[in-house]
């Protein structure tokens, strides 16, 4: 049995600082508005859609029946009990999560205040365990009909559901609902949005207290008059946003970038919420207007491919150097488009710009130069919109890159940065040697390898650095890059094209992850640990934690096939949790595996901790 709601509420009052009652009941939710019986029929295209919507927002037809027993009065109490039990179950699960995270964070520091708190929490909150086998660690589930707490691993919860003829249970650790009639976990959007999600957000906020402040957002709660406006002046539309783009003569380089922008959650939110309306903008050749038109077209419901000729034309006219665009490089186009959208934004400025481009992509790089004679560190800062990463030339591999520069004697001086790195890479035993060698070979061509190289200390040439501390004389020095401020959307270019005497393309496959933790590459991380060399050990000992604000998730990938000049661009983008492949006008469903197997030219990641209902 799960404990009394009181004791859980007590814990939540203590940890959240305020009562964790059913706050979600006070204002009309989007579901109340959508399901209101007062809505005019014009709001729903068809009666069928009215019904479809309700079913679509329920996890399965069984849960739909459970939630919408309005017409049968005798079942109304069942429905309310189910809802209340679910709320209690979610509260208990979250309270336990918080308690366990207190244990973990206090475990290392052994701070007496914290361990006292841990004791208090553990005493207050009943320890969840399987009613049948007493164990704690076997995937606990709570029956949402009778509060039975049982494990999945030994099938105690399944046996209970079957025996008692109960249908729904909640996974204690991740608040997912299991339906025994479907034999499956189900995704009930309404229960998640109204109950689970607000509680999780409060938990994340609590767990991050005292840490770096989070981007703030305010929930929009429509007023009564706004509700009336919505339901009388608009109608519900099916999901949209997938539309191919016509190739207007070698314009695939543009099409892939436009799709990457169309599927960028922050740009999409900006333009779909009418923050720049082309009908009221007076600017000539305004790129913001072009973005607005693009979104209008992609979300118009029209299925035939769209030819973004006015976008290209406006780019040409507002940006002289693009005319007769010979290079046709997607990355160059991307940067030009960003700069132009920034310039055409109403609220753009020279520094600390708050335009949509800078709010989305702007980060700050820090470059530290350490004088090897006096140890003086001088820092410089560089704004960034994306990160361009060098690839190892094929076949030559690492050797050439780490070859010491002429006159380099950093090693002899015992530079701590370099020696500790060397130590890490030359472990003593043979077994370790081969382990690290294998690991290096496997990882030499991953995105995180490229980032390791990007942020590793680099020796400067003889006459490259004049140290102010050493009386402005040239000194041997080491330069190191780190990310001082991470952007909301992190875009990478993998430099596959070498514009040397003969233009060549590096075809090496670069492995890139779905989730990327940028913590090891931040300035803060480097400062904190003192050494910059243990990035790999950071990666294995501290995997991306759910409350780590530096974790990113992949949402778009741009690929280039064929030779440098004659090749073709395609891209993958994630839309409502599903991957799609965009090949100009041709759009197909795709799988994550196809995305990860592709040879990326550009990768787009968005911060996970931003809550924009992404994915």
């Amino acid at each position: 049995m799960i404990p009394q709601a009181d004791s859980i509420a007590m814990t939540l009052v203590n940890t959240n600082g305020h009562s964790n009652g059913t706050a979600e009941a006070h204002s009309a939710s989007v579901y109340d508005i959508l399901n209101s019986p007062d809505n005019p029929t014009s709001f729903y295209s068809t009666d069928e859609q009215r019904q479809n919507f309700k079913i679509a927002s329920a996890g399965c037809k069984h849960l739909f029946d459970m939630k919408h027993q309005h017409s049968i009065p005798s079942n109304a109490s069942d429905r309310d009990t189910f809802r209340q039990t679910f709320i209690t179950a979610v509260d208990y699960g979250i309270a336990w999560k918080i308690a366990m995270s207190e244990v973990r964070s206090s475990g290392k520091t052994d701070d007496p205040v914290r361990s006292k708190k841990r004791k208090k929490l553990n005493e207050q909150l009943p320890v969840p365990h399987c009613t049948s086998c007493q164990l704690l660690s076997n995937r606990l589930h709570i029956c949402l009909h009778c509060n039975y707490l049982g494990c999945r691993s030994q099938r105690h919860i399944q046996q209970h559901l079957k025996k008692e003829n109960h249908t729904f249970a909640m996974d204690f650790s991740n608040q997912m609902i299991y339906c025994s009639l479907c034999s499956d976990y189900i995704y009930d959007k309404e229960l998640y949005d109204l109950i689970t999600k607000p509680k999780l957000l409060r938990m994340y906020k609590y767990l991050r207290r005292g840490k770096k402040s989070q981007p703030q957002f305010i929930d929009w709660i429509p007023s009564d008059s706004e509700q009336t406006l919505i339901t009388t002046q608009s109608s519900l539309l099916p999901c949209r946003g997938i539309r191919g783009l016509t190739n207007m003569g070698n314009t695939c380089f543009m099409n892939v970038i436009l799709q990457s922008m169309a599927h960028n959650p922050l740009l999409r939110a900006h333009f779909l919420s009418d923050r720049h309306n082309y009908k009221s903008c007076k600017r000539k050749y305004c790129m913001c207007c072009e973005m607005d038109k693009l979104f209008e077209q992609l979300y118009s419901g029209e299925r035939s491919p769209y030819g973004p000729c006015t976008f290209l034309q406006s780019m040409w006219l507002s940006l002289k150097e693009l005319a007769g665009y010979a290079q046709q490089d997607a990355h160059e186009f991307f940067i030009s488009a960003l700069n132009q959208i920034h310039a055409d934004s109403k609220d753009h400025s020279m520094d600390d710009c708050h335009c949509v481009v800078h709010q989305t992509f702007a980060g700050l790089l820090q470059s530290n130069v350490t004088c090897l004679k006096c140890g003086n560190v001088s820092s410089a800062y560089d704004p960034m919109l994306d990160i361009s990463l060098d690839l190892l030339p094929p076949e030559k591999k690492k050797k050439q890159i780490t070859q010491p520069l002429p006159g380099d004697n950093a090693g002899k001086l015992g530079n701590p940065l370099l020696t500790s790195k060397d130590k890490q890479e030359s472990p003593n035993s043979d077994q370790h040697q081969s382990f690290f060698a294998a690991r290096r070979a496997r990882e030499a061509n991953s995105l995180t390898d490229c980032l390791d190289r990007y942020t590793k200390p680099e020796k400067l040439g003889e006459n490259q650095y004049s140290c102010g501390n050493c009386g402005h004389t040239f000194q041997a020095a080491v330069k190191q890059l780190s990310v001082k401020r991470l952007p909301q959307v992190l875009s990478f270019q993998l430099k596959r094209f070498e514009h040397g005497k003969s233009a060549t393309k590096i075809e090496t496959k670069i492995k890139f992850p779905i989730d990327l933790d940028m913590t090891p590459y931040t300035t803060e991380y480097g400062d904190g640990s003192g050494k910059h060399s243990d990035k790999k050990s950071h990666r294995s000992s501290n995997p991306p934690a759910y409350n780590n604000i530096n974790v990113y998730t992949l949402f778009a990938v741009v690929n280039h096939q064929g030779k440098m000049d004659t090749g073709h661009y395609t891209m993958f983008a994630k839309h409502r949790g599903q991957w799609f492949k965009f090949d100009d006008h041709h759009v197909t469903m795709s799988y994550q595996k196809d995305v990860l197997d592709s040879k990326a030219y550009m990768c787009f990641y968005i911060k996970k901790s931003l809550d924009y209902g992404f994915g």
């Binding site: 553990n122 320890v127 007493q134 704690l136 034999s183 499956d184 294995s540």
Partner: protein
């Protein structure tokens, strides 16, 4: 299993969870699995089966029944060894 054995098991299980060791090892395993590409490979393996039979005919229960053996067998042996070492360390430290 005798009564005292079951009691001992329950006590260790409790310590394992409440000390935070279970959560730590869980994250450790997740990370190592991701490093070896286990997730990606299993995802690909399952999605092939999805394509073949249609997404409507797939449930968590059937998925587990069909792929659990394969999933367990395809875990890198080193990960199993590393995990075993850590569990042994935990037991040594807690069985006195």
């Amino acid at each position: 299993m005798s009564a005292s054995n079951a009691e001992l098991k329950a006590a260790i299980d409790r310590r394992f969870v409440l000390s935070g060791e279970r959560a730590r090892l869980l994250e450790f395993v997740k990370q190592r699995l991701a490093e070896t590409g286990w997730n990606d490979a299993l995802y690909a393996h399952c999605s092939e089966s999805f394509k073949a039979r249609g997404i409507e005919n797939v449930s968590m229960d059937t998925l587990l029944a069909e792929f659990s053996d394969h999933a367990r067998a395809s875990v890198n042996e080193n990960i199993k060894k590393e995990l075993l070492v850590q569990i042994k360390q935990f037991l040594d430290a807690n069985l006195d």
